[in-house]
Amino acid sequence: MRFTPFIAGSTVAIIGSTSGFATEYLTVSQAQQAIFPGAAFTDAAVRLTPAQVKIVSEKSGVRLRSPDIHAWRTDTGGWFFVDEVLGKHEFITYAVGLDAKGAVCGVEILVYKESYGQQVRNPQWRAQFAGKTALSPLKLDKDIKNISGATLSSRHVMEGVKRILAIHETAFAHS
């Protein structure tokens, strides 16, 4: 082990006090290939009816923020979903793969973005991520920032996975 301090002194300056950082791990198509290698995908996006939204919320115990579901069908009988979690300071896009039997076969984080300004709540700021994962990748952050506050947002992602299972059961399993 070797550690080289940036500064020799006993006080270090604060950086990034109002900004945040972003990491893009996978684009949508990369995540599709990571979870279902070699498979072909058909867009199966759907808008849930109010009745389906209610069923999904009851089944999963998690509130559904939008009735618009980003889903794909694979030629192997599996399903691929892209969803997002908007925390107090985090914006996380993630993908879930379900096999032909409807069991989770993969969860991948696509984009992890932290912000401590007002941007996260700002629809315009969010809009840049809508579908952006497939278009222009974010500038990769080379720094290591300990995501030590991620306990809550990782729980939100796990709840999101539960919600996707309920969505699959309600809207896709019998199609």
Binding site: M1, F3, T4, I109, Y116, I147, S148, V161
Partner: protein, 290 residues
């Protein structure tokens, strides 16, 4: 100063929700398809540690111990055995500053689900028996949260290395380990303003863990149930993530006694306050104290 060595291309980066946080793995030094397989195996190693040592999973080794080991000897997996042995070694070496039987304390503070058991026993009541069997001499509830995450990171790193990855990093929500030619720039969060970071330095071939009460106050002295390390963050640099994970708790609970243990494990700690003032605890400060 020598220019930094180039990172071998390509670099694969993946993140998954595991161990109650996000685990990020970066790897390079192999063709892309082999990197994919290596990273997949490393995540599988972490999933396995989670399945064995989760407090909430009823089928985990840990839950079986907590349910049964007070009545009879319970056989555990080799990985669980390794972590328990290390936990007891560190509990003894730190005079109980680190104690795997801390679960009831965390439960009383609402940091862990479940009703706390009423027990005066501590880690001394854990018996490791031949054949990887474990017995509690008194009612105990173990929580390996302060050590298993570091162990999982170490397992992921050795899995990557065995698969031929020459350079990489595993970060489990602040418990991280880096290996290979690439060093990792380390930033630590401001103890009370999570949007602010302090740049600390470059870590090469080593591990670090940070404990801070920024989000939850999980730093509690297992010996007398008091909350410690208010308003500061503690970062430990150590050869392995397991050691770094455990030693952050020891430094939080007893910063005066910690340098001896840090020095023995070739580890260093840095305590950071809200003003950005840093205090280093390491072999040099041990000499100073001694």
């Amino acid at each position: 100063m020598k220019p930094p060595s180039p990172i071998p291309e390509p670099v694969l980066r993946r993140a998954r929700p595991l161990l109650g946080t996000f685990v990020e793995i970066r790897a390079s030094g192999l063709p892309a398809s082999r990197l994919e397989r290596a990273v997949e195996k490393a995540f599988a190693a972490i999933v396995r540690v989670q399945a064995l040592m989760s407090f909430h999973e009823p089928t985990s080794d840990l839950s079986r111990l907590n349910r049964l080991a007070v009545r009879r000897a319970v056989r555990v997996d080799a990985a669980t055995w390794t972590v328990l042995r290390q936990a007891i070694i560190m509990a003894r070496a730190s005079a109980g500053c680190f104690d795997p039987s801390i679960a009831p304390v965390l439960q009383r503070h609402g940091l862990l689900l479940g009703q706390p058991t009423v027990s005066r026993a501590d880690w001394h009541a854990i018996r490791l028996l031949p054949g990887r069997r474990v017995r509690f001499l008194a009612p105990l509830t173990l929580d390996l949260g302060g050590i298993a995450k570091g162990y999982a990171v170490d397992r992921a790193v050795s899995t990557l290395r065995r698969a031929g990855v020459s350079c990489g990093l595993v970060n489990a929500g602040g418990d991280l380990r880096v290996f290979g030619i690439q060093s990792a720039p380390v930033h630590v969060r401001h103890p009370s303003r999570p949007g602010a970071f302090f740049p600390l330095g470059e870590l090469h071939e080593g591990a670090l863990a940070t404990s801070a009460p920024t989000y939850v106050n999980a730093l509690i002295d297992p010996r007398d149930d008091t909350i410690c390390a208010r308003g500061i963050s503690i970062t430990v640099l150590a050869p392995t993530a397991l050691l770094a994970d455990v030693l952050t708790k020891v430094v939080a609970v007893d910063p005066a006694a910690a340098p001896r243990l840090l020095a023995r494990h070739r580890a260093r700690a840095v305590i950071l306050d809200t003003q950005g003032r840093t205090v280093w605890l390491d072999a040099a400060s041990f000499r100073h104290v001694a």
